[in-house]
């Protein structure tokens, strides 16, 4: 027994080293479960504070650029207002429906919330974006994020009370359902971690007529993203003779280097859709419960 204690005392530094090393690796490999723990949320709050202060300074240098972009977006929205249209038909009387317009609101599908980006990276293979809105402002996981032009940026993966963490499109685990604007055929947008300027679009059949420069928009099959918002443009067509599918390189519509203000979009029917999807899978794919 005494020898054991002596042995441990002698190699105490080595054991400390082993312990810390194993602890680090445990953190690293249990990240998916671990990131929901309170521990990291607290850390998220702390780094969020520092990031927020830094961003305050940085914002000054890009105000002009951002202003111009917000202005163009406002411009396009103003053009959609009904008061911009004149009714030319004066022979018919306009009859207003007696149902108040508020009752239609329960059919609202997407709700937009503005947020500011306080941390952003593009250099890693797994890039995350931090926003200054969190659970206290109604942000939850699986909401999609669009930039101020309306271009797809990423999906919220984790929230703390006042900050939210977004998995950017520039993340090797990210998969977004997108469609070709011209024909509506859909595929999956991914990233291989190589070039932040190019995403990969997989799963488009070769029968689709396609040109370099075609627009890729978010698909109406996506649970997170509202349909029809730009995701990118086709930059290069790689035709692999081995498969029936195109492999496309897509230039992202959002500029990830200078993100400042974004919209967090909530799909109000997300939980219902996800639940239905899961139930269907369970019912069809479990042979015991439902023998055929």
């Amino acid at each position: 027994m005494r020898n054991v204690i002596l042995f441990i005392r002698r190699y105490f530094t080595f054991f400390t080293f082993l312990f810390l090393q194993v602890l680090s690796l445990w953190f690293l490999y249990s990240f998916n479960k671990f990131h929901q723990a309170q521990f990291l949320q607290t850390a998220n709050e702390l780094t969020g504070q520092v990031n927020g202060r830094y961003k305050k300074v940085e914002n000054f240098f890009a105000l002009g650029d951002e202003n111009r972009r917000v202005h163009t977006l406002n411009d396009s929205l103003l053009n959609l207002l009904s008061q911009q249209y004149i009714k030319t038909d004066t022979t018919r009387q306009l009859v207003r429906d007696t149902v108040p317009s508020d009752t239609l609101n329960k059919y609202r599908r997407y709700y937009f919330r503005p947020a500011a980006v306080i941390y952003n990276s593009t250099n890693s293979e797994k890039n995350y974006i931090q926003l200054d809105r969190g659970a206290a402002h109604g942000i939850t996981e699986n909401m999609s994020v669009l930039n101020s032009d309306g271009a797809a940026v990423g999906v919220v993966v984790n929230v703390s009370p006042h900050f939210a963490q977004v998995m950017s499109l520039l993340h090797v685990r990210q998969k977004v359902n997108v469609a070709l604007k011209k024909t509506g055929d859909f595929g999956t947008l991914e990233w291989d971690g190589v070039d932040p300027g190019l995403l990969l679009l997989k799963g488009l059949p070769k029968s689709v007529p396609l040109k370099v420069g075609d627009s890729v928009v978010t698909s109406r099959y996506s649970f997170n993203f509202p349909p029809g918002y730009p995701a990118g443009t086709v930059a290069e067509i790689i035709s692999d003779p081995g498969t029936n599918f195109f492999l496309l390189k897509v230039k992202p519509a959002a500029r990830f280097y200078n993100l400042q203000y974004v919209f967090v979009v909530e799909n109000l029917q997300y939980s219902e859709q996800a639940q239905l999807d899961e139930q269907t899978r369970k019912r069809i794919e479990d042979p015991k419960r439902n023998p055929r």
Binding site: T13, T16, F17, L25, W26, L28, A43, N123, V194, Y257
Partner: protein, 178 residues
């Protein structure tokens, strides 16, 4: 200035520089990712015991990890170099001034050539462990070998630049006089 305050300020400066400058600047190439924060561990005083060295390194790595959202990645690499550091210093310390006359490792205390070897080995170990852990989660081995060499080279360049720009004013401690 006391050792504690000096090193605390260094800790903050190195981490802020790493997070807000080196991780912000668009990289020259995807294989070249410079990093400098671990110089903090290389510069810790000689008097810090190996156990404290390990703990400080762990905290340093973990703090950076919280900024980069990869808990454990940098901490593992930092703990590794903190473990190897005392052995390297014993090997590389000049024989003639065996009792430590200097406060911390520097080109003056170890002399330029051994100091360069010290930095080279620890940088290589740090990046090697980091790149290995990244490679195990995804990617091809050839890519990461190139990444290791390129990142080590750019980091060494940065470290040498820092050493030349900020020569640390080392007090020569003797028993004679002040």
């Amino acid at each position: 200035m006391s050792e504690l305050i000096r090193n605390s300020i260094r800790f903050i400066l190195f981490l802020l520089f790493e997070v807000y400058v080196l991780h912000r600047v668009p990289h020259l190439h995807r294989f070249i990712s410079p990093s400098l924060y671990f110089l903090f561990i290389l510069w810790l005083p000689f008097v810090v015991s190996p156990r404290w060295l390990l703990l400080i390194a762990f905290v340093t790595g973990l703090t950076l990890d919280y900024f980069t959202q990869s808990p454990g990645l940098h901490a593992a690499a930092c703990v590794l170099i903190a473990y190897v550091r005392p052995f390297l210093i014993t090997v590389l310390m000049p024989r003639d001034n065996s009792d430590f006359n200097y406060r911390e490792p520097s080109p003056q205390s170890l002399l330029w050539a051994p100091y360069f070897i010290y930095v080279l080995i620890l940088t290589l170990l740090h990046h090697g462990w980091l790149v290995l852990l990244e490679w195990m989660s995804f990617g091809s081995f050839g890519d990461f070998l190139i990444k290791l060499i390129a990142s080590t080279a750019i980091s060494l360049l940065l470290i040498i630049t820092v050493e030349l720009l900020f020569p640390r004013n080392m007090r020569y401690r003797t028993n004679v006089g002040g």
